[in-house]
Amino acid sequence: MTPTSAVQDRPTRGLAATIKSRFQQFLAFGSLIVIVVFFAFASPNFLTFSNITGVLFSTVVIGTLAVGTTFVIITAGIDLSIGTGMALCAVMSGVFLVNWHMPLLLGVLAAILFGGLIGLINGFNVAILKIPPFIATLAMMLVAQGLALVVSGSAPIYFTDVPGYLEISTGNLIPGVNFPNAVVVLAVVAVVAAVVLNKTVLGRYTYSIGSNEEATALSGINTKKWLIIIYTLAGLFIGLAGVMISARLGSAQPATGMGYELQAIAAVVIGGTSLFGGKGTIVGTVIGALIMSVLNNGLQIVSVPQEWQNVILGGVILAAVYADNIRRKEG
């Protein structure tokens, strides 16, 4: 009897194969570098310490939202409620801290958990009521937008009397170095998310559900429960983003938020996560978020008019997805 299978741990996987299997990330990373180099030559103001921290700073909100949404998109879902949900969480943070005078830590935690609640409801609608994610979260997007205005009475809530709140975002962990805490928060969040996605049961089920939800359910996995957990997790990121943005602005702006969801989803897609599910990484998403904010910032610095900035961003998204399609065909 000849053994027909040679089983080794590592397949015949050289550097070339690794690059191929992570093509989208390499491509995204390469593009990021090209873009950075381009702006560095285009404007002397781009590669300054203050501008770099500025870019990183503005990556934080989109990045946090994008990291949470990555989970949802890997399940072949989508979350459109993250933008206005974030505004609602910012308002709630104002309610908890300014109106109710909760202690700082508790108030922040409550605001983050409130985001989790938004996600929980999304998850329930998707998993139990079987409402398609696009519709369920579109509805939530409107609900959150409305509630943010109702709760705040359509007026911004200022955190001027909440000691320490602004520090969450704008403070410097390392004294004397102007490196905002927000960036540290995003880094920590990204690492935690990457660990969850790669090393935990939750992460594996996220990929499984996105690859084949029915087969996963028939394997005895309670896909409904896990979907709810995944949407709730994404909701916690919404809450965190709400805290970060309001801490940075010093106020909760109830009328903002709309548009962030598309920027975040774009970041996820540029980072190589497939909207068809089953595929994606946190590293990719972070790179995608960086590309988005570098473009935003760089185009401003070289004085491209706002309208044209959007045209260019749209083009970048198309290019990113097209590159992924080509790779898929050759696959």
């Binding site: 935990t200 028939l218 005895g220």
Partner: protein, 527 residues
């Protein structure tokens, strides 16, 4: 021979990353013949046919058709040359109708570019009638059983003016009656200027349909034999490189086993009527029946994949409620689906992820973290013991051959420690040698006290494995036979009872109440 060969393939090689799928392969198809192509799982049969039909390009090799050399560049061009293929994995659009699927990309158009559904359905009807297939052009393909989907594929392939028809395991999902229908169809297709290449793991049918058999192993040509002058034993030993024991029967048959699972009056809206049976500890209970008899539906109803309209399930004497497959898993009941692509595999994930999926949380995690080392070690063990042909457990499932994908699904359930395993067509597409290995594993599980329900359309397989056999027809359980009572004939008898159509059959099953039978009789008389 004076006549040129219909098709000649020479020196074909094809590699994938880490796998040499074909090396210096050759094959000759004579006009007017059915050539069987056999080989173990992963031998390269499907790859050869994909190369021939323009799906993969070859690394090297030459083709000729009727003595004329040709090159295949695309599936479309292959079709224009007269080479038509029915793939092992279906290529149907589940949301489209039968007619739309058959003529996809070639829909009849009216002025202005509008599609004409009426004309499409008429065209499909004509084709289906000509082929004598039991299909309705307007039915949605996703709602059809696997066997009927197979027929749609056949109709699609034959709708082209094919000279060479390639069938990659066309009968894997069919039962004996359907196989006979398919063979009739092939015989009608065969003319002096056409030929069929027929891939199958069901050795029995090769005798009745093929003229010659070509055997390949590990991507290499082994031999071609005249079917009439060869015994299947010979073919098998050429295939697997050793002889297999045959004519084995079930092991460990006893009638003093305790009842583990009792199903009482199980019914579902679409099909099942009053299905009751018992499954005992350490028993292999076979389920036999024709296509659409309701065997898969019983399995799906038990594990909560489909809603039941009536009935109770009792486990170890305690009534249980199962609302979805995760409830079933909690009661340690596992279900392997007949449709590996739709319900079994994560095609885009690797072999390891697939094998450990159902047991991940229970066996391979601690505090929610995956213990990858243990998981991979276990996967590797199963890859070894089931002889799954793959370069590593990190290979993406999609890249495995059909039979090896099936083994991966089987492996998934062998890893999970279930008390009750429901295997729906577990050996679909698996080669003869590996089948015996799977039978061995099932017998092992049973001897360790696991209870197994084995649904199979291959009667010899059911007879070979089952301690008892439950036979179904038209959504009803028509008999439960012991291993002694069960023969090809007795099973077929109960599988073909039609209580809905025949009063005699209904009376034999004792389900025609006086009221009911009077009504049916009257109806019969009125006709």
């Amino acid at each position: 021979m004076d006549r040129p060969l219909l098709l000649k393939i020479e020196g074909v090689s094809k590699s994938f990353p880490g796998v040499k799928a074909l090396s210096d392969m050759h094959l000759e198809l004579r006009p007017g013949e059915v050539l069987a192509l056999v080989g173990e799982n992963g031998a390269g049969k499907s790859t050869l046919m994909k190369v021939l039909s323009g799906i993969y390009s070859v690394d090297e090799g030459a083709f000729s058709l009727n003595g004329e050399p040709f090159e295949v560049t695309s599936p479309r061009q292959a079709q224009e040359l007269g080479i038509s293929i029915i793939h092992q994995e279906f290529n149907l659009m589940p949301d489209l109708t039968v007619a739309q699927n058959i003529f996809i990309g070639r829909e009849p158009r009216r002025a202005g570019g509008f599609l004409s559904d009426r004309e499409l359905n008429v065209k499909a009807r004509t084709l289906i009638d000509r082929l004598q297939l039991p299909l309705d052009p307007k039915q949605i393909v996703g709602s059809l059983t696997v066997a009927k989907q197979q027929m749609v594929e056949i109709a699609k392939a034959l709708s082209y003016e094919a000279k060479v028809l390639i069938m990659d395991e066309p009968t894997a999902a069919l039962n004996d009656a359907e196989v006979a229908t398919l063979h009739d169809l092939i015989r009608r297709f065969i003319k002096p200027d056409t030929g069929v290449i027929y891939i199958s793991h069901r050795m029995g049918e090769l005798k009745s349909i093929s003229d010659r058999v070509t055997v390949i192993r590990d991507g290499q040509y082994v031999d071609t034999l005249d079917t009439a002058a060869t015994s299947m034993k010979e073919v098998i030993s050429l295939m697997v490189g050793r002889r297999l024991a045959s004519d084995l029967g079930p092991e460990g048959v006893r009638d003093d086993r305790e009842v583990l699972l009792a199903v009482e009056g199980l019914s579902t809206k679409p099909l099942l009527k009053d299905v009751s049976f018992e499954l005992k500890v350490g028993e292999i209970l076979g389920f036999a029946g024709l296509m659409g008899a309701g065997r898969t539906e019983v399995a799906r109803a038990i594990v909560g994949a489909d809603k039941i309209s009536a009935g109770t399930i009792t486990l170890r004497g305690v009534p249980i409620v199962i609302n979805d497959p995760s409830d079933a898993a909690r009661h340690r009941i596992g279900y392997l689906s007949e449709d590996r692509k739709r319900f079994g595999l994560l095609l885009n994930q690797d072999v390891n992820a697939n094998i450990i999926l159902s047991s991940l949380r229970e066996l391979f995690s601690r505090f929610g973290f995956v213990r990858d080392k243990q998981a991979r070690a276990r996967s590797r063990e199963l890859v070894g013991s089931l002889r799954i042909k793959t370069p590593s457990v990190a290979q993406i499932a999609k890249n495995l051959s059909g039979g090896n994908q099936q083994k991966v699904v089987v492996a998934k359930w062998l890893v999970k420690d279930c008390d009750i395993l429901i295997f729906d067509e577990p050996t679909r597409g698996i080669d003869v040698g590996a089948k015996e290995e799977i039978y061995g594993l099932l017998n092992d599980l049973a001897s360790h006290g696991k209870s197994i329900i084995m649904i199979s359309s291959e009667l010899p397989e059911v007879l070979r494995m089952s301690h008892r056999i439950a036979v179904m027809s038209e959504g009803r359980l028509t008999a439960v036979l012991t291993a002694d009572e069960a023969t090809q004939e007795s099973v077929m008898h109960y599988a073909t009872l039609r209580p809905e159509q025949s009063i005699a059959d209904a009376i034999e099953l004792g389900i025609a109440g006086p009221h009911e039978s009077v009504q049916t009789t009257r109806k019969a008389r009125e006709k």
